[in-house]
């Protein structure tokens, strides 16, 4: 029996797939099991095909695999879509009373469990609970103690009243009971038993982790425009940010969103906006102004498949070049891509600190799969006592005097040794000054003087140089540090590659794995490249944008593993691909 168990529910958009899947994931998490989820969904409100998959084990799970052990199929298409992942002994739970499912043929070697989901749900109080009946059935098949499902149902429905909670529990019980009575032999034969532990895990997705990181970091202002897959950041913050004296504004478009965030940042609030590729294109206009006016701002790009509208609900790491190089002129910036969901929290905190310490825009680059994946972590992974706030060179009324010129003007863009100028927040006596997207002198006033132009360009670049020296930009290291082979990746592939490494077995080529969260400034990998006989760069785009950057940095050629069909890497698939490239 493999250590991990894979489960899914699939149906049409509007069938409550997402909500049901999350209830099951939470039940497992509350039972002290690790969980990693994934979603197949389309940009539509009803119809089509959508699925929620859960991988679970006692040990941490960090990716999905191409295997399904139990499938709850609300439609024929759900079975068709997953036929390659189902295997001998897989259980398919379906409702044979549903007209469209009457002719369902269970593939050879698999176990069909025809459970009257709708009828049993009606017995429990309403057809709407048919998915919960199916969850009860799944608990019985896997010997998973149903009280954990009850606990998850309480969390989900407690604000709707006790009777709703009780009805749902009854629905789950009826599903379990039906399977116990009708499929006893099949259940006994089924090879998985979902054991529990006493651990209590946090179940969180990447967008939520970014939102929570923002609050922890002291973010007080958020403006955004809804866009998949970044909307969850905004929805998480809405209502919560207000509890901490902040505010969330839904702007009329992304142009407005970034300008509002810029305004709040200039007023002195920690401020942020989040969007996806199409929004990043629009924000590129103001991005240059943020940098030129030396305003601290965190801009989050939750990437999805592009270009243009692309595949809005599909995975891609296609915006690296845009975030590294986007915008006319030459724009100093930081680009940080968290490599795990827990890191989404920590890198958000860092992003706010870098933004203020260096008075520079920071791109925080996440992606669709991190945004929609729910994963378990021990609560210590989000230890709030570890959060440090560094606001950089904010000057108060007394300190302003040190930064006035002979005529009493505040030198908001003073060309200091480290490039970072004093920052007087509006309201500070004698600190009044202007800032502008125009080239300016140290007072923030427009100039086309050639010497001042050069001085200000150098001053802004010097902030980046200072940051390079002062901060730790190291990659995260895994595998054998002395191996001949080097695998490099960025962003959300870390967990999948780590699991691939475990799956590859002893005969497979040994490798060192560097997971890079800092894209600019980024670590110098020249030495690591020199030591390695072969370098493979793994990323979810067609052209190998990071590979290009690393080749440029190190003047070495690399091998590339790319995926750009809209689905992220899976551990078993990647194990095979890396093995092939390295052999």
């Amino acid at each position: 029996m493999p250590a991990d168990f894979n489960w899914a529910i699939g149906g049409e958009a509007g069938d409550g797939i997402n909500s049901t899947g999350k209830i099951f994931a939470r039940a497992l998490s509350r039972a002290g099991r690790h969980v990693f989820t994934s979603k197949d969904f389309a940009s539509r409100i009803r119809g089509g095909y959508t699925a929620y998959k859960v991988r679970t084990a006692i040990d941490p799970v960090e990716s999905t695999v191409d295997r399904l052990d139990v499938l709850i199929a609300l439609t024929q298409r759900t079975v068709d879509e997953n036929i390659d992942e189902l295997h001998e002994g897989s259980v398919i739970i379906y409702d044979g009373e549903r007209t469209s499912m009457q002719d369902l043929e269970i593939p050879d070697g698999m176990v069909g469990m025809d459970v009257p989901l709708k009828s049993l749900a009606e017995d429990a109080g309403g057809a709407i609970m048919r998915n919960i009946v199916a969850l009860g059935a799944a608990c019985e098949v896997t010997d998973f103690p149903i009280e954990h499902l009850g606990s998850s149902l309480e969390k989900r429905f407690s604000d709707k009243g006790e009777s709703i909670v009780e009805n749902n529990k009854t629905a789950a019980d009826l599903g379990a009971e039906f399977v116990r009575e009708s499929y006893e032999a099949e259940t006994t034969e089924f090879e998985y038993e979902l054991e529990t532990t006493d651990e209590n895990y946090v179940l969180i997705n990447g967008d939520e982790a970014i939102g929570m990181g923002a609050i922890a970091a002291g973010c007080r202002f958020y403006s955004g425009y809804p866009i998949t897959p970044a909307t969850d950041v905004m929805e998480y913050l809405t209502g919560r940010l207000e509890r901490y004296g902040g505010h969330v504004v839904q702007a009329e478009d992304e142009l407005s969103a970034i300008n509002m965030a810029l305004g709040a940042a200039r007023a002195g609030a920690r401020s942020m906006t989040a969007t996806s590729g199409p929004g990043i294109d629009l924000m590129a206009e103001t991005f240059g102004l943020v940098a030129q006016s030396e305003t601290p701002l965190v801009i989050c790009d939750v990437m999805r498949s592009g270009p243009s509208t692309g595949m809005p609900t599909k995975q891609e790491q296609g915006d690296l070049n845009m975030t590294l190089f986007g915008g006319h002129g030459e724009i100093p910036r930081f680009v940080i891509a968290p490599t795990t969901i827990a890191e989404c929290f920590w890198k958000t905190v860092e992003a706010f600190n870098y933004a203020e310490k260096y008075q520079t825009p920071v791109y925080l680059v996440s992606d669709l799969e991190m945004a929609v994946t729910e994963q378990t972590f021990p609560p210590e992974a989000f230890d709030m006592d570890e959060v440090d706030i560094d606001r950089g060179k904010i000057v108060d009324e007394d300190e302003v005097d040190e930064w006035l010129d002979d005529e009493g003007h505040f030198r908001a863009h003073a060309a200091t040794e480290d490039g970072v100028s004093p920052r007087a927040l509006p309201g500070t006596t004698d600190g009044a000054h202007m800032s502008t997207g125009l080239e300016h002198n140290e007072l923030g006033r427009r100039t086309e003087d050639t010497e001042i132009r050069v001085e200000q360009v150098h001053k802004r670049e010097r902030k980046v140089e200072t940051a390079k020296e002062r901060e730790d930009w190291s990659p995260r290291e895994f595998g054998n540090p002395d191996a001949d082979n080097l695998v490099v990746s960025w962003g959300s592939n870390e967990g999948t590659i780590s699991e691939a490494m475990d799956l590859m077995g002893e005969d497979a080529p040994d490798f060192r794995f560097l997971s890079v969260p800092y894209l600019f400034p980024r670590p110098d990998l020249s030495e690591a490249f020199e030591q390695a006989e072969q370098v493979v760069v793994v990323e979810c785009n067609a052209t190998g944008q990071f590979a290009d950057v690393l080749e440029h940095d190190t003047l070495e050629r690399v091998d590339r593993v790319n995926k750009y069909n809209g689905v992220g890497f899976k551990a078993d698939e990647l194990a095979a691909e890396i093995t092939e490239v390295l052999q």
Partner: protein, 287 residues
């Protein structure tokens, strides 16, 4: 904040590069007077401007200021005011900035009713790019890019504001210094979004909408029986394409500014040295 602030304190030592005779001089002087008269000083005032001749105003005034990108000064002002409600926020723009590239932001800023003022220097021409049609140019106004005139009706900014739920809609004339300053002051004092469209003639590129034209054609609402609290009367006057008015066209006395309707009253600039005290509760929500 000292009580002896004069309008000259809002003036920077930078000489404007506007053409001699430009309406923007008078517009700016009125803004500075209004700021001083309402008890503000440069250190608690934030001026936001966009691009165009009007955009230069932040350089010529003395206050905290941001000179941003074209058309998006209103969102910047919105963010400033929300983050620090103690600041006096004044947004300045031109007809191109506000009614063309920034028209989307304009109607939404009006809807939001954030407690700030928006002063538009409307000269019915693109001046800084040397004389092309603007959204408020007349249908037959001939320019290099519209040799036969735009052949489309001009934008009516007052009508846009009224239809978007505007709570303070006024119009002034840069040359009528006292009335202009008075109207800007009323916009500042208004509890919500105070919008003033200012006729600010371009002496270089617009030979139609001149000082003389406005002097001859302007009706001051103060000299009429106009009731600014009467929506229907405001609507009739605003929709009258043949009339040019100075004064408060409309003011909603029951205006509820954004900070009240949304409970955004705290200064957001002060934060603790670490995560908020009860931040661990946020983690517990995910159990």
């Amino acid at each position: 904040m000292s009580s002896d602030v004069r309008f000259i304190d809002f003036k920077s030592d930078k000489q404007p590069t506007w053409c001699p005779g430009c309406g923007d001089f008078g517009t700016m002087n009125g803004m500075m007077k209004a700021l001083a008269n309402t008890g503000n000083d440069p250190d608690n005032t934030f001026v936001v401007a966009g691009i165009g001749c009007s955009g230069k105003i932040g350089t010529y005034m003395h206050s905290y200021a941001l000179h941003g990108v074209h058309g998006r000064a209103l969102p910047v002002g919105t963010g400033v005011k929300m983050a620090n409600p103690d600041l006096e926020v004044m947004v300045a723009g031109g007809d191109g900035d506000g009614y063309s590239i920034g028209s989307g932001h304009f109607i939404h800023a009006v809807r939001r009713n954030v407690d700030m003022s928006y002063i538009v220097m409307d000269n019915r021409i693109y001046g800084l790019t040397k004389g092309q049609a603007s959204p408020t140019s007349r249908e037959d106004f001939e320019t290099a890019t519209t040799p036969e005139g735009p052949k489309q009706p001009p934008v009516n900014p007052l009508a846009l504001a009224l239809s978007a739920g505007g709570t303070f809609i006024a119009q002034s004339f840069a040359s009528d210094a006292q009335r202009h300053a008075e109207l800007v002051q009323k916009a500042i004092e208004h509890d919500g979004f105070g919008f003033v469209n200012v006729f600010s003639p371009c002496v270089t590129f617009n030979d139609t909408d001149t000082y003389d034209y406005f002097r001859d054609n302007l009706t001051d609402l103060a000299e009429t029986d106009h009731d600014p609290n009467d929506f229907d009367e405001a609507k009739d006057r605003i929709m009258d394409a043949d009339a040019e008015y100075q004064g408060i066209l409309y003011q909603d006395e029951d205006s509820v500014p954004y900070h009240e309707s949304h409970g955004v009253t705290e200064n957001m600039t002060e934060i603790p040295d670490g995560a908020p005290e009860d931040a661990t509760d946020l983690v517990r929500e995910f159990y």
